[in-house]
């Protein structure tokens, strides 16, 4: 297990790719965007980027909002 910060919360996760993590969270990879250590990770390479100890991840999606 490795320690990461996911959406502001510390979390223990198995290693593997970011795509693995997204899938394990039950999220549809087509509906989210991922930032890793302040850099966007393009959807096309989410399966190629391995999680590392102390990674800071943001996983976001669209929600209702106005002006």
């Amino acid at each position: 297990m490795i320690s990461i910060i996911l959406n502001g919360e510390p979390r223990q996760v198995r290693g593997g790719s970011i795509a693995d993590l997204v899938a394990s969270l039950g999220l549809d990879v087509k509906k989210v965007a991922v930032e890793r250590n302040r850099d966007i990770v393009p959807r096309s390479i989410l399966g190629d980027v391995a999680l590392a100890e102390n990674d800071v991840l943001e996983i976001v999606h669209f929600v209702g909002g106005g002006c």
């Binding site: 996911l6 959406n7 502001g8 919360e9 969270l25 039950g26 999220l27 509906k31 989210v32 965007a33 991922v34 930032e35 302040r38 966007i40 393009p42 959807r43 943001e58 996983i59 976001v60 999606h61 669209f62 929600v63 209702g64 909002g65 106005g66 002006c67």
Partner: protein, 256 residues
């Protein structure tokens, strides 16, 4: 008669853009969007709820293939946060047309124009097509345009206030000076406010609270659709000149 408008090469028939916040639920939100006739909705970018990924999502109710999602940076109080948010939005949605707003303070939600201008420059250089929320200042509007804004969106009154178009003169001056579409963003409270914005020559109006907080949001959405259309037609028709005194509409000759 087709009366369309374009922003950054995309053409739309509806001149009403609606927000997707503050609704009771997704069903009501979707029904209001349908009643408004809007082809563009603003959306926010937020962290997914990793503890409940099965929670319903906006995209389940408002189809991004049919309605253009305009990601906005509501809630961002500096340029860096806004730029970061829109980079994520571009990755999530796959499109470059975005709405930038960088707020200055929570009380008024007035834009911080220095940060807004900087963010506009950075986003334009990165290939974004930013529609930009701004003060109702014709000089600031030109500066944004020069920095790469594809539309300028002056406030009519503070966000969520429903106070209506407070300064018709500055909105008109912005419209007259702009080479990009001008849309009133924020401040509309009721249908007549939307008509005023359109009568001033704006290409469109963006609103959220005026519909979402109406007692009957779906009926208000329809009212806003009609008001925007009426205001646009009135602008195109060219209003009569104003007189200081009365002028009878019936002939004076032949009176008994």
């Amino acid at each position: 008669m087709t009366d369309q408008w374009s922003v950054a090469g995309r053409t739309f028939s509806s001149r009403l853009i609606v927000g997707t916040g503050k609704y009771k639920d997704f069903e009501q939100n979707a029904a209001a969007v349908a009643a408004s006739g809007a082809e563009i909705v603003t959306v926010a970018v937020r962290r997914v709820n990793v503890s409940d990924p099965s929670a319903p999502m906006l995209t389940d109710y408002i189809d991004p293939k049919k309605i253009t999602y305009l990601p906005n940076t509501a809630g961002c109080f500096n340029a860096d946060d806004a730029i970061r948010t829109l980079r994520l939005a571009r990755e999530a949605g796959g499109w470059d047309l975005v709405k930038l707003e960088v707020l200055g303070e929570a009380k008024t939600l007035y834009p911080n124009m220095r940060e807004t201008l900087y963010a506009t420059e950075v986003l334009a250089k990165e290939g974004f097509l930013p529609m930009v929320y701004c003060v109702d200042d014709p000089i600031a509007a030109k500066q944004l345009e020069d920095a790469g804004a594809v539309a300028v969106m002056p406030l009519g009154a503070p966000i969520g206030s429903g106070l209506g178009i407070q300064n018709r003169v500055t909105i008109r001056l912005i419209v007259e000076g702009a080479n990009v579409p001008v849309l009133v963003d924020a401040g509309v409270g009721t249908a007549s406010d939307a008509a005023v914005a359109m009568e001033l020559g704006c290409e469109g109006v963006l609103m959220n609270t005026a519909i979402a907080e109406a007692k009957d949001p779906i009926l208000m959405a329809r009212a806003m659709k009609l008001a925007v259309e009426a205001g646009r037609d009135a602008y195109l028709a060219g209003r009569m000149a104003q007189r200081r005194y009365a002028d009878p509409s019936s002939p004076l000759a032949g009176l008994i």
